[in-house]
């Protein structure tokens, strides 16, 4: 906009400060992006567990003990909430980010794609839970 500073018409450029707080849609967007960091952080937690497992039995038990701490359980509940929101918001935006899908010559509507994604996420989560349950 620097080329406009000396313009006789004096166009006024409004600042962007706090832009995402001014519209609920942008707040949801920032939450979607923000909760992605929680997903990344939790991947680090799991990676740490893997490293502990590779190091020694004592290290792995230590990692398990940390996870069982009430503070850790509280963090897990928060992470779960963030993960659920992220999953929902991710599938909510998905139809806008993918090429059109056709079924029987007709374009599959947005909400069908979103719902299919959410159902898949639920089914896969339940399968993983059942699988880990059966192993313990």
């Amino acid at each position: 906009m620097s080329d406009m500073q000396h313009d006789a018409r004096r166009p006024y450029v409004r600042p962007m400060t706090g832009w995402w707080r001014k519209n609920p849609y942008f707040v949801c967007y920032m939450l979607r992006e923000g909760t992605a960091l929680v997903v990344a952080a939790y991947a680090m937690v799991l990676l740490t567990g893997l490293l502990c497992l590779a190091t020694s039995e004592a290290a792995f038990n230590g990692w398990l003990a940390v996870l069982r701490h009430p503070f850790s359980i509280a963090l897990h509940l928060l992470a779960l909430a963030a993960m659920v929101y992220h999953t929902w918001s991710w599938f909510d935006i998905m139809p806008k980010t993918m090429p059109p899908v056709y079924a029987g010559g007709k374009r599959v509507p947005r909400h069908v794609i979103t719902r299919a994604g959410i159902v898949t996420a639920i089914v896969v989560t339940l399968l993983i839970l059942l699988l880990t349950w059966s192993l313990t």
Partner: protein
């Protein structure tokens, strides 16, 4: 016989470059009926209350794309939004976000127009046919690939909805990229290679972070977010094809 006349407060962001250092809000109380649009409210102000108010408008029927403004913080066509929705509260009208204010509700659109020209928004014939060869034929399925994107009326609401454009106006932006896709996806068009450099640039599709609000505010049901994101795929494909088989004279 006559009902009590209802009145509504319209708060308008004013900016008169010759006398104001910065914009300020001015409130007008306007009588209205159920069939009055926000644009008609502004016209009442201009005709009856304050002739110095400036705003753009033309068709009054949501097709010319001139009267876009922020209405209670949301980009809308003012001819397409009714005063009755805000009653008994008032409403706040501001010029479209992310564009410099020229005067009152009028924004400066040079940047958008420049970008629109740059994408060659016309069909560049794949094979030039002579008159005796007849029309350029297209099947309904081929038309469906671009039809919704051709509904764009250049109203720029999607730019006012795009924080990425607001933060850095080098970004090509949703509307222009949707129109670029409209021509690239047209089976009669052969200009894709000429347009791909604009798509591939960081200011092209890669500046989009999939906020998705552009598609929510479009008054014509265009899905610019979809056009931009389909072109991220096209741009990635183009990159790899270019690695294997470099384009002549291309980057």
């Amino acid at each position: 016989m006559s009902e009590q006349q209802r009145m509504i407060d319209i708060e308008v962001l004013r900016y008169r470059p010759e006398e104001d250092a910065e914009p300020f809000f001015q409130t007008y109380t306007v009588p209205f009926t159920d069939d009055m649009s926000v644009l008609q409210g502004l016209q009442y102000i201009k005709d009856e209350l304050d002739s110095t108010l400036s705003y753009r408008w033309s068709c009054r029927m949501a097709i010319c794309g001139s009267c876009g403004m922020m209405i209670n913080g949301k980009p809308e066509l003012s001819c397409h939004t009714f005063l009755r929705h805000f009653y008994p509260g008032g409403l706040r009208v501001e010029p479209l976000n992310h564009f410099p204010i020229e005067r009152d509700l009028v924004v400066r659109v040079d940047d958008f127009i420049g970008k629109l020209e740059s994408i060659k928004p016309y069909i560049i014939a794949k094979e030039v046919r002579r008159l005796e060869q007849g029309e350029y034929l297209q099947t309904p399925a081929e038309r469906d690939r671009y039809e919704q994107f051709s509904s764009c009326i250049n109203c720029m609401l999607c730019y006012a909805a795009c924080p990425q454009y607001g933060l850095d106006n080098k970004f090509m932006g949703p509307g222009v990229l949707a129109l670029l896709h409209r021509y690239n996806a047209d089976s009669r068009d052969g200009g894709q290679a000429q347009r791909m450099e604009l798509v591939n640039a960081e200011e092209g599709v890669w500046n989009c972070t999939a906020v998705g609000y552009c598609s929510e505010v479009c008054p014509k049901g265009v899905d610019p977010a979809n056009a931009v994101n389909i072109n991220k795929i096209n741009s990635a494909k183009d990159y790899f094809i270019n690695l294997v088989r470099p384009r002549e004279g291309g980057k």
